[in-house]
Symmetry: C2
Subunit: 500 residues, 2 copies
Amino acid sequence: MESEANGADRKPMSILEVEEWRRCAHQMVDFIADYYRDIATFPVRSQVEPGYLKALLPEAAPEDPEKLDDVLADVRTKILPGITHWQSPSFFAYYPSNGSTAGYLGEMLSGGLNVIGFSWISSPAATELETIVLDWLGKLLELPQQFLSCGGGSGVIQGTASEAVCVVLLAARRRSALKLMAQGILECEAFGKLSAYVSDQTHFCVQKAAQIAGVAANLRVIPTDSSTNFALSPSALRKALAEDIASGYTPFFLCGTVGTTSSAAVDPLGELGDIAQEHELWFHVDAAYAGNACICPENRHNLEGVDKADSYCMNPHKWLLCNFDCSTLWVKHPKFLTDALSTRPEVLRNKATDANAVVDLKDLQIPLGRRFRSLKLWFIMRLYGASGLRSYIRNHISAAKHLESLIIASDRFEMVVPRNFSLVCFRLKAHEDDSARGNTLNATLLEAVNIRGECFLTHTILDGVYTLRMAVGSTRTELQHVKDAWAIINHEADRLISIS
Amino acid sequence: MESEANGADRKPMSILEVEEWRRCAHQMVDFIADYYRDIATFPVRSQVEPGYLKALLPEAAPEDPEKLDDVLADVRTKILPGITHWQSPSFFAYYPSNGSTAGYLGEMLSGGLNVIGFSWISSPAATELETIVLDWLGKLLELPQQFLSCGGGSGVIQGTASEAVCVVLLAARRRSALKLMAQGILECEAFGKLSAYVSDQTHFCVQKAAQIAGVAANLRVIPTDSSTNFALSPSALRKALAEDIASGYTPFFLCGTVGTTSSAAVDPLGELGDIAQEHELWFHVDAAYAGNACICPENRHNLEGVDKADSYCMNPHKWLLCNFDCSTLWVKHPKFLTDALSTRPEVLRNKATDANAVVDLKDLQIPLGRRFRSLKLWFIMRLYGASGLRSYIRNHISAAKHLESLIIASDRFEMVVPRNFSLVCFRLKAHEDDSARGNTLNATLLEAVNIRGECFLTHTILDGVYTLRMAVGSTRTELQHVKDAWAIINHEADRLISIS
C-alpha cells in the first residue's frame, strides 16, 4: 500500500513540475508572440469549410503522452486555418474582442493562481480587488455614486453582457413578482402578468434572458426607424406602457442601449429613465460597446440619464483592452440580485459570510465558480493609465471619422446612418426604385471583400436596408488599416460594377 | 485631421507591440513559476480580515501609466496575502481547482488568440475542436454513443456545473411546458404545474437553477440518510412522484449525482433512470467531481445507468488537470437546448448558419460570447495521454485510501461515511449522548487546523453530524502532503483534548 502510493506519486509532479512548467510556458509565449508578429499573413475570416477539422484529427484521445512540439505543430497547421483572427488589425466585424499586453498579463496571472472566488474566504483578494477596480472604472465613467461601493451600490464582473442582463432581469422579476404575490397572486401567475420593454435594436440577449426568466411572452419590442436614427422613442414607449396597463399587465423592466449592435444608436436615457421611475420599472442600460468610449469627457454626454438607471453594463473586452471575457455590471441595489440568486449551503459556510462581513460574489451571478478577472482590469488601468485608455479610444474614433469623410466624399457610397463612436454603417448607393437589387449588390460586395481574407466586415439590416458595418476597434487597428480596407472595398466595388 | 490621426495612432502599437508583449509575458511566466516554487511558504487559507485591501490601494485609477515592476511588487505584497492558494499541494478544501502545465498552455493559447466563438464562422476551429475533444473525453468515460456527435448527441463546454444544470433545466422546462401548452394551458401556468426532484445532497446549484427558471416552488427535496450513505432512494422518489401526480402536478426533471458535494455519495443511476423514463422526466446526471474518476475502468461502475440519462455533466477543472473554468456537458438531444436558448439575429447571419451546415454553440448556453476552452482539454489529453490521466486519478485515490486507513486505525477519529473516490469524511469521535458537544469540538478542531495555514480543509454536516472533509485532489498533492496534514490534525486534536 505504502510503496504503491510512493511509487505512483512521482507522476503528479511531472504534471506541474515547476521548471518544466516554466520552460513550456516560455515556449508558448514565443509561439503566441510569433503569431502576433505574423498575423497579417492569415486570412482574417477563416476560409475553411464546415467539418474541416474532423478529417484532420484522430477519433480518440491518445493512450500515451505526446510531445508539446507536435501539438504546437498541429496548432499551426490544423487550428490556425480555422481561426477567424479577431486580433488582426484588419478585423472590423461585429464589435471587436480587445486583447492587450496588460490584459493578457492579468489573464495569465489569473490562470496561474487558478483560484475560484465564489465566496470571499475562497480568496479574499479576488472579491476585494473586484470591488475596488469596479469603483475605479465607475469613477472614470463618472457613474453616479449609488453605483459605487461607497454609495451602497455594487460592481460585479460577469462573463458577458448576456449574463449581466439575465441577472438583472431575474432581480427585477423577483422584485415585481413579490409585490404581486403580496396581493395573493401565485408566483407563476405573476410571471404571466409582467411585461418588459425593449426596442427592435436592443441586443437579442434581452430576448434570450426573457426566455430564460420565463417572461418572453410579454416582452414588448418597440419599432424604431431612421427618424430617431434607430433610437427608442419615449413616446412609443409611453404608448406601449399605457396599452399594457389598460390590459392589466404589470410593466417591470426596461432596457435602454448606448451604442446598439446594429448601428451604435443611443437611446435617450434621461427621458427613458423618467418613464421608468414613474412606472417603477427596473431600468437597465446596456452600453456593452459604446460605454467604453464614455471614459472620454467628449463622449460622456451619451450616458446622461444613467443616474436614473438601476443597472448599467459595459464590456471592457469589447473596447477597453481587456482580453475576453470581462463584462462589468453595476447595480444600485445589490440586494435585489442576492434576493433572486443567493444560496447558503452548509459546505460553504464560514465565519466571514455568517457575520455578513463580506459580499460573496456568487450571489450576484448565475455560475458558482468565478475566475479572478478583476486582475485584468487592474493591470489595464495601471499599465495604461486613464490617459492611455482615453487616447486609445480617441485613435479609433478618429480613424472612423476619417473613413466617414471618405464615404461622404465618395460618389458611389453613402452613409446609412451618421457615424456613432467608431462604427461606420455604409453601403453602395442603390437606385431608390430598386431596393432589393441594392441589398443584393451590397451583400455581394461584402462577400467579395471578405473572401479575399485581407479584412473582415459584417453587415446589418436597418429598416430593410442591407448595410455594411465597419467597427474600428481592434487593438492594433491604425488609420492605415482602415485606409487599406477602404481601398479593398473600392477595388471590389469596381469589379462588381464592371460586371453588372 | 490626417496628421492628428497619424500623430495619435502610434499609441495603440505600444499597447500590443509584439516584442514588448513577448518580453512582458516572459516576465509573467517567471513570476508565476516562482510563485509555484514558493507556494508552500504561504498560508493555504488566506489569513486576512474583511476589507484589508481597500486600505492598501488608491481610491481611483492612475491618470498616467505605471510600470509593470511596480504592479508585480503590489501583487506580491498586497494580493498574494489575500489569496487562498488553491494550487497548494496542501489544499484539501471544497473540491479542488486543477491547474496543470498542459491546461495552462491551453489557457494561454486561448487567451492569446482571444477569439469569440459564439457561432461557427466566428472561428470554425473553436466550434469544431470542442465537438471533437468532447467526443474524445466521452469515449474515455465510455458514455453511450447517443451523447457523442456520431450518435446525434452533443458535447458543449460550460463555465460551471451551475450553468450546465441551468441550461438543461431550461430545456426540460421548455419541453414539458410545450406539452401542457398543447392542451391549452398558458406558458406561465404550465410553469406552476411542473415539479422537479433532487435529494437533500444534490448540489445547491439545482436550487438556484430552479429559481432562475421560475420553477423553484415545486422543487421536491427528498431527504437522505446514512442508511443509503446519503444516496437518493428510488422508493422515496417514487413516493414523491405519486403524491405530486395525485395532486395534479406534472413531474418534469430529475437530477442524480455521482459524487455529492458533501460526501461524494453516488445515486443509483440505473434505478433512477428507469423511473425517469417511466415518467418522461428529463434525467440529468451531475458528476462534477467524481465523473472524472470514471475514466479509470475500476471506477466506471459508478456511471452505470448513465445511458438512461438525458444529460451528463462533469468538471475537468475539478479533477482532470484542466485550469478553471471548464465544465463539460453532454446531451442526447441538443435540439431541446436550442429550442430553449436559440436566437438568430441579423447581425450574426452567415452562409454556414443559414444552410444549417454547422452548430452555433451560443445556442447551447446562456452567454453569447465564449472562449476557446476546448484547447485546454485537447492539450491535456494529448500531453498526458489517457494513461497519464488515469494514473493521476489513481494516485489521489490511493493517497485518500491511505488516510482512510489511518483514521480507521486511530482511537479517537472515525469515518463518518465510507470513503468514496478521493474524499475522506471524518471527525473526532464524540460521546454519543452529547452530539452538540461533538459538533463544537470538531468545528473548533477545523478552525485550529486551518488557522495554522499549513493546510486547508472544509466541513459539512451529515444527518446533523459536523464532519471534516478532506478532498485529496489538488494537482501537486502527493501522499506526503496527506501525511503532513494528518500529523497537523492530530497535533491540534492533542492540544484541544488537553485543554478540554
